[in-house]
Amino acid sequence: MNARTTTRTLARRGAPLLLALVLLAVPYSTLDVPVLLPGPLNSPGTLQLIAVCLLFAGFALSYDLLFGRTGLLSFGHALYIAVGSYTTNIAVTRGGWSLGAALALTAAVGLVLPAVIGAVALRVNGIAFAMVTLAVAQLGSIIVLSDPDGRTGGEEGLALGGAGVPAFLSGVANTVNLYWLALGYAALVALAIAWSVASEPGRVWAAIRENERRVTVLGLPVLRFRLMAYVLASLLATLGGAVHLLVMGGSTPQITTSDFTLGLLVMVVLGGAGSRWGAILGGVLYTFLDHRLAALGTSGAVADLPAVLRAPLSEPLFLLGALFVLAVYFLPGGLAGLAGRLRPARDGAP
């Protein structure tokens, strides 16, 4: 072991710690970055933006557990985020439950529903699995939009209300508490996934991703291990849905659509599938661009451009979609893979 490797081990261990320290310091800083952020770091607008970015980093991590770690291409991950958001919301707002009881119910649903759906959907492989998850998620979207008994609010969505919402989680002045909540969620997902992929089943997931037939030949029940990954990823997404509800102050049918799942896929691939930092990086970057490009699109610099250029630049999804296509061609392994490719060149040794 030479000095360079020890430095790298130090960086590997130290980077998460440093990141945690920076994120813990954010609400106490008044640093102002003019163009990138809507206001000083501890202003409600910026805190909300960072909270949403962290939340989506958590979503992307949970999706990466399926796509990057186990090799399952699901087009229905949004279903569980929607289930988390709407279950908690309906229990609190329509049923008058306390938040704790609603969260307990949501966790139970988040465990049982993916177990049932996964048991059926995982019987088919590859593209057929993708199609079944897409269809089931579409069903969820249709149910939410059809507004059964006036419970989900249909296209309007459902704002969070009722006596069950604790005071410290509502109101602009308490945005900092929502920030802590989102940070806690992202940390929980990151730890749960780091722990699970290092565990024994985690190694089997990687083996299934690389060579499913070989795992079968070794006598391991592939279906059971896949179901395990599916339920864990879905449970994390369901819990994230509840956090999404609190951060956003309501549920909207947009989180039920297949486009929402495609967004998660874009985040994971852009950041780098199956790596430690890829999904986090992709989730934060995508969400940040999605929010800030809209502001950029209406800014003076873009408004002066001729109409041919102005129209596409005012659509964040156009830029993100184009960026994603370019990343697929020129950045295999995503942004995280880019770091890995640059490192050997810099060290001068493999």
Binding site: L73, V120, R123, V124, I127, A128, A130, M131, V132, L134, A135, V136, Q138, L139, I142, I143, L145, S146, P148, S258, D259, L262, L265, V266, V269, A311, P312, S314, E315, P316, L317, F318, L320, G321, A322, F324, V325, V328, Y329, P332
Partner: protein, 294 residues
């Protein structure tokens, strides 16, 4: 009785729309192994192309021969989009199926966003020929004429596709490629030309679905392809990937189930039944109705 006739014909019309989208998807997937998420974009290109031509192209309009010219323009735009997508974006990525899916996903997102940027997200009134707005009496039911338009177009496309696949040399190459692509290439036949061809056919059929769907729904929005695409995927899986007759049968089945269940039970139940149908077919026959073992 008249309700049943109306429901059956409306269901068939919906099935016709699904078939137009699913036939191209199925061929593209069967031959080139590309799960094409940009198919909704081809549909939107056809719809907006027709809408634009009806307003701007000299000789084209909302009625008579002008309407057909507008539709032709939309279909040509869709076929061109299909060819361009295959040549520029898909071709460099063959034998990397996941990357291909990802590229079509990105293209679908970006393309729809671009349409929204250019023409706005509000629905645009679609040109509707006067004869399509009328109704015809069938067995005591007053059936809107646009249903017949959809069914007729789908029947023509089905017959033309089958004739192409079974009677022409290129059709033979496509069918052989669906069975075993490597063998076709080994026999010295340039199978990549067939890839471009199925993208052109798929793009044209989806664009036709977009144009006629515009007549059926009365307006056109950038996101219209998205929800239709999901049902077309379901049709492809039920029918068996790569099989045009399978897609036709599955499209009719899905359209009818959706209409009848929605009418007799409640809104949303039809879509739910379709998903259950998909689950049942996949569990009983994982390769779909046409049953090609993958």
């Amino acid at each position: 009785m008249s309700t049943i006739v109306l429901l059956a014909l409306t269901g068939l019309g919906l099935g016709a729309l699904y078939f137009l989208i699913a036939s191209g998807l199925s061929l593209i997937f069967g031959l080139a192994d590309v799960l094409n998420f940009a198919h909704g974009l081809f549909l939107a290109v056809g719809a907006y192309g027709t809408w634009w031509a009806a307003g701007h192209l000299p000789g084209a309009g909302a009625s008579g021969a002008g309407f057909w010219l507008a539709v032709l323009f939309g279909v040509a735009a869709g076929a061109l989009a299909g060819v361009l997508v295959e040549l520029v974006l898909i071709r460099p990525l063959y034998a990397r199926p996941i990357e291909q899916v990802l590229v079509t996903v990105g293209l679908g997102l970006a393309g729809v966003a671009l349409l929204r940027a250019v023409w706005g997200s509000d629905p645009r009134q679609f040109p509707k020929p006067s004869w399509a707005a009328g109704t015809t009496g069938v067995l005591g039911a007053q059936v809107p004429n646009d249903r017949f338009l959809l069914i007729g177009a789908a029947a023509v496309v089905l017959v033309a596709l089958l004739a192409f696949l079974r009677r022409t040399r290129y059709g033979l190459v496509v069918r052989a490629g669906v069975e075993d692509r490597a063998m076709v290439a080994a026999l010295g036949i340039n199978v990549r030309v067939a890839f471009t061809l199925v993208f052109a056919i798929g793009g044209a059929a989806a664009a036709l679905a977009g144009a006629l769907g515009g007549v059926y729904f009365g307006n056109v929005t950038p996101g219209q392809g998205g929800s239709l695409l999901i049902f077309a995927f379901i049709v492809v899986v039920i029918g068996g990937m790569g099989s045009v007759p399978g897609s036709a049968v599955a499209a009719v089945l899905v359209g009818l189930v959706q209409q009848f269940a929605n009418y007799y039970t409640g809104a949303g139940v039809g879509e739910a039944s379709v998903v259950l149908l998909l689950a049942a077919v996949l569990l009983a026959r994982p390769a779909g109705l046409a049953g090609r073992t993958a």
